[in-house]
């Protein structure tokens, strides 16, 4: 290969990686709501059915409309992804498509179930009794959760592959359940499910906190804030536990990823835990960070003598980009810690207000509301940073230890740049439109037709379609 061809090939690899990362990041920002929102809706609509309180109905109606839009964009961007695996990584799919088949097939069915019952839910307000309508949320919620589980097993297998036999670059036998048997699967699944709930709760809380900050201090906004904030803050400490378990699997199975997360160059016992700062490749150290001696060894092996593999264990070409991975890890852990701190503070304040008999329990001063606004972006950013850790830390492998990213990419060079540019333009345009629509929905207050009590509301007939329109 000539030098020019090498440059071209590595260029197209980077473009393909960029395209994949961008479309995955775009998709997951919507997919998390497909996982989280149905559980929230189960609660609010369930409360409405039991109490007949129109505020619960108003929240349900508002969220279901937002859900309709978010789910549709998530669905079409998910379709792009399933095509992209073949378009951008044909060699990867040709070799391992069969291994990952069961995960993708089951995920497809879960998505199928979600789409079917979502159709009933969104358009069935008048055709179903309130109870039957509420019941259609169960398959949506369960299928959304299962689809996370299934798709994460595929990613877990790419990180910690096993249960396949390869001869000369061809899979000769694979246990059908291989992705489900990956040791990374359970911890990754739990970590992502909690992340999805946190993102949903945080964004919901953030939207209602903004409403409260603008002076709409009514029951509708208080309750919206309460539901969202409860979800994000209750999940935050659990996320710490699941993250700790995940890091231990990474340490055992992908030692170089852990080294990159911690910015640890030299393999050693009594390894320190580095918090913050930037990894400097020239010196192999973390600059401007806080170093807690021996803590990494203690966390990973429960003993300060525990030996931690550093980046020096592999030749430079086989190391992940520690600057990127360590920074992303810092962002994720920092935001997670902040959310846990907020959860603790809110819990203390609520406990004190309860002892004093004050209502509402949830503090709603301006600072508290600003903190609640921040939980949404913080959760989303932490989730994206976490994926950067997972995927960036796996480099240069697409299937850890088995296939390099550079060997998986499509041969066609020049077209990828245009595709990438087109994808970015298209997605940014769609995202802008979506944000405008969601902002309109969020600032509109409760839908007018949702205020009149127990009566089953009108179907959310689209504005341009329905009789009289919704607005």
């Amino acid at each position: 290969m000539t030098a020019g061809a090498v440059v071209l090939a590595s260029g197209s690899t980077n473009l393909a990686r960029g395209q994949t990362a961008f479309s995955l990041a775009f998709h997951i920002c919507f997919a998390v709501f497909g996982v989280g929102l149905p559980w929230l809706l189960l609660y609010t609509e369930g409360r409405w059915i039991r109490t007949g309180d129109p505020v619960w109905l108003a929240l349900t109606r508002k969220w279901s409309r937002a859900f309709a839009v978010l789910f549709a964009v998530g669905a079409v961007s998910g379709t792009v992804l399933s095509f992209e695996f073949g378009l951008l990584w044909p060699a990867f799919m040709a070799r391992y498509g069969g291994v990952l088949g069961l995960s993708f097939t089951l995920e497809g069915f879960a998505f199928f179930a979600e789409a079917i019952f979502l159709g009933m839910y969104l358009y069935g307000w008048r055709r179903l009794s309130p109870r039957a309508h509420w019941l259609t949320l169960w398959p949506i919620a369960i299928a959304g959760t299962l689809s996370t589980l299934f798709i994460i097993t595929a990613n877990a297998w790419m990180n910690v592959p096993g249960h396949v036999r390869e001869v000369g670059g061809k899979v000769v036998s694979a246990e059908p359940l291989a992705p489900f048997l990956s040791p990374a699967a359970p911890v990754q699944v739990v970590h992502m499910l909690l992340a999805a709930l946190m993102c949903t709760g945080g964004v919901v809380a953030g939207i209602y906190a903004v409403g409260l900050l603008r002076g709409r201090r009514d029951d509708y906004h208080h309750r919206g804030l309460r539901v969202g904030l409860t979800v994000v803050l209750a999940c935050a400490p659990l996320q710490l536990v699941s993250g700790d378990l995940a890091a231990r699997v990474v340490g055992a199975r992908q030692p170089l990823k852990l080294a990159a997360m911690e910015g640890l160059f030299r393999t050693r016992s009594s390894a320190p835990l580095s918090i913050g700062g930037f990894y400097d490749e020239a010196s192999g150290t973390v600059r401007y960070g806080i170093e807690l001696p021996k803590l990494l060894s203690l966390l990973e092996g429960f003993h300060t003598d525990h030996r931690i593999t550093g980046l020096d264990a592999a030749p430079p070409a086989d190391r992940p980009n520690a600057l990127l991975v360590h920074s992303a890890f810092t962002v994720m852990v920092g935001l997670g810690t902040a959310l846990i701190a907020l959860a603790a503070l809110v819990a203390i304040v609520m406990f004190r207000r309860r002892r004093r008999g004050q209502r509402p329990l949830l503090p709603t001063g301006r600072l508290w509301l600003w903190a609640a606004v921040a939980t949404g972006p913080a959760s989303m950013l932490a989730m994206l940073a976490g994926w950067e850790v997972t995927e960036g830390g796996r480099q240069p492998w697409i299937v850890y230890g088995r296939m390099r990213v550079a060997d998986a990419v499509t041969a066609g060079g020049p077209g990828i740049g245009w595709t990438f540019a087109g994808t970015v333009t298209l997605y940014l345009g769609l995202a802008t439109a979506l944000v405008l629509i969601l902002r309109r929905m969020a600032t509109g207050g409760p839908d007018p037709d949702a205020r009149d009590g127990r009566r089953s509301p009108e179907a959310p007939v689209p504005a341009s379609v329905g009789p009289g329109g919704a607005r």
């Binding site: 409309r65 309709a68 839009v69 549709a72 964009v73 669905a75 079409v76 379709t79 792009v80 095509f83 695996f85 073949g86 378009l87 990584w89 044909p90 060699a91 799919m93 040709a94 498509g97 069969g98 990952l100 088949g101 069961l102 993708f104 097939t105 497809g108 069915f109 199928f112 179930a113 789409a115 079917i116 979502l118 159709g119 009933m120 969104l122 358009y123 069935g124 008048r126 398959p139 899979v171 036998s173 694979a174 059908p176 041969a411 066609g412 077209g415 087109g422 298209l426 802008t432 439109a433 979506l434 405008l436 629509i437 179907a459 959310p460 689209p462 504005a463 341009s464 379609v465 919704a470």
Partner: protein, 331 residues
């Protein structure tokens, strides 16, 4: 019957469901694009209302077929990914824009640009996708592909006519389905004559294009054409019979029966094409034998599909039954 063959049959079944259900949804977009005159707004409203609850579920059939393809026949998927990128990207752009524009128009309330603008995006995107998928399907039969020339599938005359045929067929299906939807409610009954005209026109156009496609098949895809002559004639006859029956039934305003006949006409084309394609997946590049995943994985896949279908099929029936009748409380 090997696991690979069984999986292929299941995939053709999934493709049929996609063509008959999602195809009609895309066809609705074609009619949205072509809506003219004083009934145009009412037509668009009817089309949009008929899509609402079902289009996302219908769309998933494509994902099902795609996942079965890359799980069961990974090597063929690798070939398709590296040679058919351009038509597939075009189909994807259509899919993304169609879906987003539909919900933006339905739920946006004008917050992100006027509804009619999103309506146009929806309509144009709905036309692009079946065209691009038709071109893709044709390329699998001709084998006229090249890694270095992504635009190649768009230069093949058989491929282009196939794309046009796919658009026509989806429009035909949509018009037939919409006839029954419109006839079911007094509020939309006035749209029936126009839709019936469109359905009849669509049937004739699709029939004409099919007649053009046959000689092109022989000249551009001789391998498949040969097998077509040997084994696909019964399917072609069934398709033609379905098409003629649909014409007669539309003429006599038997819209429910016309739906079934139209479905048979379209399914016959797909099955005939699939039978002639076998055992090639991409002619000249990938066969069933060369690209099938290991047998135990295929068996596991089939078991998973059987279990999944046991949940999905009854749920889909429930969905369609729930929305089979128009909503009279809106009157």
């Amino acid at each position: 019957m090997t696991a690979a063959n069984l999986l292929l049959i299941v995939m053709v079944g999934g493709l049929t469901a996609y063509a008959l259900l999602a195809g009609a949804d895309f066809g609705g977009g074609v009619w949205d694009l072509l809506a003219r005159g004083r009934d145009a707004a009412d037509q668009r409203r009817l089309i949009s209302a008929s899509l609402g609850p079902v289009w996302e579920a219908n769309h998933v059939w494509l994902i099902f077929v795609l996942v079965a393809l890359f799980s069961g026949f990974s090597a063929a998927f690798g070939v398709i990914g590296s040679t058919l990128a351009l038509p597939l990207l075009a189909a994807l752009v259509g899919i993304v824009l169609r879906g987003s524009a539909y919900v933006y128009r339905a739920y946006g309330g004008g917050a992100a640009g006027p509804d009619h603008l999103w309506g146009h995006v929806f309509a144009v995107a709905s036309t692009i996708t079946p065209f691009a998928l038709g071109v893709t399907g044709a390329a699998l039969a001709t084998g006229d592909l090249s890694e270095g020339d992504p635009a190649r599938p768009f230069t093949n005359p058989f491929g282009l006519v196939c794309g046009l045929f796919a658009v026509t067929v989806t429009a035909f299906l949509a018009a037939v389905y919409l006839c029954r939807d419109a006839a079911a409610s007094p509020a939309t009954e006035h749209l029936v004559p126009g839709l019936r005209r469109r359905a009849l026109g669509g049937a004739l156009a699709a029939g004409t294009l099919a007649a053009v496609l046959l000689p092109l098949l022989w000249s551009h895809a001789p391998v498949v054409a040969h097998r077509f002559g040997e084994g696909s004639v019964p399917f072609a006859v069934a398709s033609a019979a379905g098409g003629i029956a649909a014409l007669v039934l539309l003429w006599r305003r038997r819209f429910t029966a016309a739906r079934l006949a139209a479905g048979l006409a379209v399914a016959g084309v797909l099955w005939g094409g699939a039978a002639a394609q076998y055992p090639d997946l991409v002619v000249g590049r990938a066969t069933v034998a060369s690209s099938a995943a290991p047998e135990p994985n295929l068996v596991a896949l089939l078991i998973a599909i059987a279990a999944g279908m046991a949940v999905i099929v009854p749920s889909t029936v429930l969905l369609f039954r729930l929305f089979a009748r128009p909503d009279h409380s809106t009157d």
